[in-house]
């Protein structure tokens, strides 16, 4: 049973909220919240420890405090938050390596939970409609966050081989969205006009922030749950559908013009568009969530559509007007 839990990456949304949620659980004695920056938000009963996971000092903390569960949430999805792509990769890959090296030396450690991402599946026209956990990407993500996630997973698998006594659980999460949470994906729907690749309409799943926290909470405490678990809200939305729900017009762009669109949006300061997402917008991606329900025993409260509507569909005037107009017609 988890008594002392160490959570990494708490200065960011998911990490901070997860630390707070875990700290409210009476089954857990102590929650150590680790990051290099003090979180701006409330982390509840969790004790903040200023440490860099890229520094061997983290090993000392794990040993001294007799940590039995490590929840690694310090994988950053957006380069801008980390201060550039180089730092992002440094934190994601090297951070994970160092943390795992420290974990390997910690005899007290019983369980490791790592937040991974659906990005490891990539996005290609040869993809199955739904990825199950045993499948790998048909086209491995060549760069960016997707590549980081693949590498993080490789290191975690390696750790699992070297420490077979530690239960390892990886959560491959769909794009997490939530009020105030800014990611590459949410930036897309904050653009005044949503660039959509001509002739494509990719499907995608999302996961509400609350459900992401719920899944991390469940995975931390559920001891029989090991291995990889896909975590996503039920159902899918397509890009055009999502744009309609968000009440934004779409602008057809050539799929190959991703980098150009990225430059233009950055230059004109209308928002942020990341060319890395173009494959997802074209071919989409879906994850089978059977294991989420059966192995992890967790069902997200919001479906993909509900989560998306909650977060982005708030002030869709067109929908409101058409509802009113439709009632008259």
């Amino acid at each position: 049973m988890a008594t002392t839990v160490l959570v990494t990456g708490v200065s960011r949304f998911v990490g901070g909220l997860a630390a707070r949620a875990l700290s409210t659980d009476p089954r857990i004695e102590r929650v150590l919240a680790v990051d290099v920056v003090r979180p701006a938000h409330d982390i509840g009963r969790a004790e903040f420890v200023r440490a860099d996971i890229r520094n061997p000092i983290i090993g000392k903390i794990i040993k001294q405090e007799n940590v039995d569960t490590v929840v690694h949430l310090g994988v950053i999805t957006t380069p801008r938050q980390a201060g550039g792509r180089t730092t992002q990769k440094e934190i994601n890959v090297i951070g994970t390596m160092q943390l795992l090296a420290a974990c390997q030396k910690a005899p007290s450690l019983k369980r490791l939970v790592v937040k991974s991402s659906s990005a490891v599946y990539g996005s290609s026209p040869r993809d199955p409609a739904m990825f199950t956990e045993d499948m790998t990407a048909r086209r491995t993500p060549p760069r960016g966050f997707g590549k980081d996630s693949v590498e993080v997973e490789t290191y975690v698998r390696g750790f699992g081989r070297r420490r077979p006594d530690v239960e390892v659980c990886m959560l491959r999460m769909a794009n997490v969205i939530g009020p105030g949470l800014r990611t590459m994906f949410s930036d897309l729907f904050h653009l005044p006009v949503i660039p959509s690749p001509v002739g494509f309409d990719g499907r995608f799943q999302v996961l509400h922030l609350d459900d992401a926290i719920g899944a991390i909470h469940a995975a931390t405490l559920r001891e029989d749950c090991t291995g990889v678990i896909n975590v996503a809200g039920e159902g899918v939305l397509t890009l055009h559908q999502a744009a309609r729900i968000a009440g934004r017009p779409t602008l057809p762009v050539l799929a190959q013009a991703g980098p150009l669109v990225q430059q233009l949006t950055a230059r004109t300061r209308v928002g942020n568009f990341d060319a890395e997402q173009m494959d997802l917008l074209c071919f989409g991606r879906g994850m089978d969530t059977t294991a989420q329900r059966t192995v992890l025993g967790f069902t997200p409260e919001r479906t993909t559509r509900q989560a998306f509507t909650d977060v982005f569909g708030g002030d869709n005037r067109l929908t409101a007007l058409l509802r009113a107009g439709g009632a008259h017609a």
């Binding site: 409609a129 159902g235 899918v236 729900i245 058409l322």
Partner: protein, 351 residues
């Protein structure tokens, strides 16, 4: 966007993540002697606009309907339906399943577009529709021909229109389809998905009527001289999918599709250039330009044969290559024989 007039600025800024500089700037607005107009009447105003647009649209539809010889309640019902469809499309209130199948789009746009071709151009005659189960999964396996895979679309219409429960045929397509813009999107929306065992088994387990042409490009792109001679049936993947899920295999033979674009030659270098599996040269294409894309109006017969049950085997039988080959051959032979007998019954290619 920040320079927009006040009304929309308020909503625009709210949707964006708060940027402290802007949020602060809006707090110290210049003082007005007369208070700013409340946003509510403006919304009301544009709602009237929408209403008048809808009224105009209804009037237009009425006139078109009247011109088409419709009137009274029938016309009203159709207009209401069209408007409701439009509204759901504009607000994103339609459902797309895990495979990307958009039932509403298929019902309202896709099948109505194909139906005239099905009924008037190829005058498709369907036989043995009673061999398709009313519910539950089944794998419909058919021959593939015609240079352009129109046969798949016609089987989709046939299955939907002729089955008593108006079932949807969920086709399995090559990855080239999903790679192409527009084509891939339409394929997913109309219920197709990638021809891979994972997707086939997922569809069959969900109890869908799944449709596959195991010949693939070898079938569609074969020369006219080899018409109605079946090619190799893939590697038998469709049989193992049926065995694993225990659904019946229903052989389907299509006569008529071979003659729509007689493939006389194949410009291989052009095919390589465009990344196509072949570049067809037909009597009309590419010589007549876009006119060459009009298929010849052959008369079609689609016959669904008696189901071949697979539930008598264990699911593990799917890993027995010999059994899979035998079943594959059995299905192939059935379709080949049916094709020959249909050809004998056919009076002429065009009627």
């Amino acid at each position: 966007m920040p320079d927009k007039p006040t009304g929309s600025d308020a909503t625009g800024a709210r949707k964006r993540p708060p940027r402290s500089a802007f949020a602060g700037a809006r707090a110290d607005r210049p003082l007005h002697v007369v208070p700013d107009p409340a946003p509510a009447p403006q919304t009301g105003g544009s709602s009237y606009d929408v209403e008048s647009i809808i009224k105009l649209l209804v009037r237009g539809l009425r006139m078109t309907g009247a011109a088409a010889g419709l009137s009274g309640e029938d016309l009203d019902r159709r207009i209401t339906r069209a408007l409701a469809f439009l509204r759901r499309r504009l607000t994103g209130e339609y459902e797309v399943d895990d495979f990307g199948f958009d039932q509403e789009f298929t019902d309202e746009v896709w099948l109505p577009l194909l139906r005239p071709i099905y009924k008037r151009w190829f005058r498709v005659e369907v036989r043995g529709i009673e061999n398709l189960p009313l519910e539950g999964g089944a794998l419909v396996v058919s021959n593939h021909s015609g240079t352009v895979p129109v046969d798949g679309l016609m089987v989709q219409v046939a299955i939907h229109d002729e089955t008593p429960g108006h079932r949807y045929a969920r086709a399995l397509g090559a990855d080239l389809v999903f790679q192409s813009p527009v084509l891939g999107d339409l394929a997913r929306k109309s219920g197709s998905t990638l021809a891979a065992n994972s997707d086939a088994e997922r569809l069959l387990r969900a109890g869908e009527l799944t449709f596959v042409c195991p010949e693939g490009f070898k079938g569609v792109g074969k020369p006219f001289g080899e018409r109605y001679r079946l090619q190799r049936f893939g590697r038998g993947g469709f049989v193992s999918a049926a065995l694993r899920t225990g659904v019946p295999i229903i052989p389907c033979s299509i006569v008529g599709a071979e003659e729509i674009f007689p493939l006389l030659g194949n410009a291989k270098s052009l095919a390589r250039l465009f990344g196509f599996p072949y570049f067809p040269l037909t009597p009309t294409f590419p010589w007549l330009g876009p006119l060459g894309l009009v298929p010849l109006p052959s008369k079609w017969i689609i016959e669904f044969g008696a189901p071949i049950p697979t539930d008598s085997f264990e699911p593990a039988a799917a890993d027995d290559p010999m059994l899979v080959f035998d079943l594959t051959d059995q299905v192939r032979e059935t379709i080949q024989q049916t094709l020959y007998s249909l050809l004998l019954q056919r009076r002429s290619v065009f009627w």
